[in-house]
Symmetry: C2
Subunit: 220 residues, 2 copies
DNA sequence: TGAATAATTGTGCAAGCGTATAATTTCAAA
DNA sequence: TTTGAAATTATACGCTTGCACAATTATTCA
């Protein structure tokens, strides 16, 4: 008769906020933005809906925190490939390109999250800024690799051409990432990486690129 | 006391379906998927919510019809350049590529719509089918143009290579379309078209492509 | 050990959602 | 002009949503 409440543990604020953000991302990845209801998020976090309002002033607040965390995480992941590489410039470029169109970067979950948020980028200014910054950061990194690879190959390019090459290479990578994630069954394993490497080489006027890494990068 | 009903006109079935689809697209472009409620769509179409269920078996049915119309519309818009073109195969390819990364195909509204839909593609099977079909339709069209252009240049390619080239060219176009639509202020006018033409030429190993059309295509 | 504090739960509410369905109005054919 | 069928409106229902708030529990500190 005593409607016994469920027992619970008090977590630190940082931990709980993190858990709720992770749960929100899970929900969005699984069921899209419309599937990320307050109740669903709380459920996934093993918590009661009311608690969300204790840590976030509104659901919108939680969602925007989740987006921020997603973008930060993706940028860090793309940077990780390069941090401890001692390959040649050409090799580094090849590794970077191959990694960008191979799991875990190509991943239905990542795609679902990106798709769930991209719409808000067009409406919300804060989101737009985050998006713009992380896009340019990625492209700048790519441009640096291209610059090094061209120099190594004895075919340096001027600034204007370099910028255009970076935009084009970035576009190929984005396009392949998109198509590979949205229609995975349409491409054989490794096919996207081969196409990406061949395309970047053709765009830069370089001989075929071969990645130095033996296989796909480890997740996380 | 006589709760006088609002007067109305009977439209043909095709017309009403079109109106409702257009209204749905407007709603999604403006307020995102969550803004496209049955009531909002009916309101924008100057109609009563109940009517939607008279022409579509469910809201989901209407939404997927709208997505289909958006995608085929974009492909047709790119292909319109070709309908009465008597240009060479190389010229047709150039026109097609340039049109795909130039307004009105590159357009924040189109991007907003696409972004609103893409996440459902990963979840809903019907949406997935629509996406897959329209993606392949666009790529097939592109592949046909590439095939003709390569033949004309005396460098025919076998089927496997042709497929890969089409995937790569399609990826560049998609990527440029995405970036140009999401961050329009990042690119000078005509810059995307130049990059696209240069990239496709480099990918195919052809000399620079030059469009035959004098300028951007007229809207609609 | 006991009291104070803040984290967490549980309940309830008003609004909006998609949908079913009955009541009306329009329009074309007779 | 009348009639009949189909298009359209109007109303209502059950469900879900985000949010507010009071009740309760775990934890800390004296």
């Amino acid at each position: 008769m005593t409607g016994q409440r469920r027992s619970f543990r008090r977590e630190g604020e940082a931990q709980r906020r993190d858990d709720l953000i992770a749960a929100a991302l899970d929900c969005i990845a699984t069921g899209g933005p419309s599937g990320a209801t307050v109740r669903a998020i709380a459920d996934r976090a093993g918590v009661t809906p009311g608690l969300i309002r204790h840590y976030f002033t509104s659901k919108e607040d939680l969602i925007s925190a989740a987006y921020s965390r997603l973008m930060t995480g993706m940028t860090e992941q793309s940077a990780r490939v390069l941090t401890d590489s001692r390959a040649s410039a050409l090799g580094q470029l090849a590794d970077f390109v191959a990694a960008a169109v191979t799991p875990p970067v190509v991943d239905p979950r990542a795609m679902a999250l990106w798709a769930g948020f991209i719409h808000t980028v067009l409406i919300d200014d804060r989101m737009r800024t985050v998006h713009s910054e992380s896009y340019l950061a990625f492209r700048d990194r790519l441009q640096g690799l291209i610059c090094g690879a061209l120099a190594e190959a004895g075919r340096p390019a001027d600034a204007v051409r370099l910028r255009r090459l970076a935009i084009a290479c970035n576009a190929v990578i984005d396009g392949l990432w998109l198509e590979g994630s949205a229609l995975p069954e349409e491409f054989a394993e490794g096919e996207l990486a081969e196409i990406a490497l061949g395309s970047v080489a053709a765009l830069l006027g370089l001989p075929p690129l071969t990645p130095t890494a033996p296989g796909p990068v480890a997740r996380n």
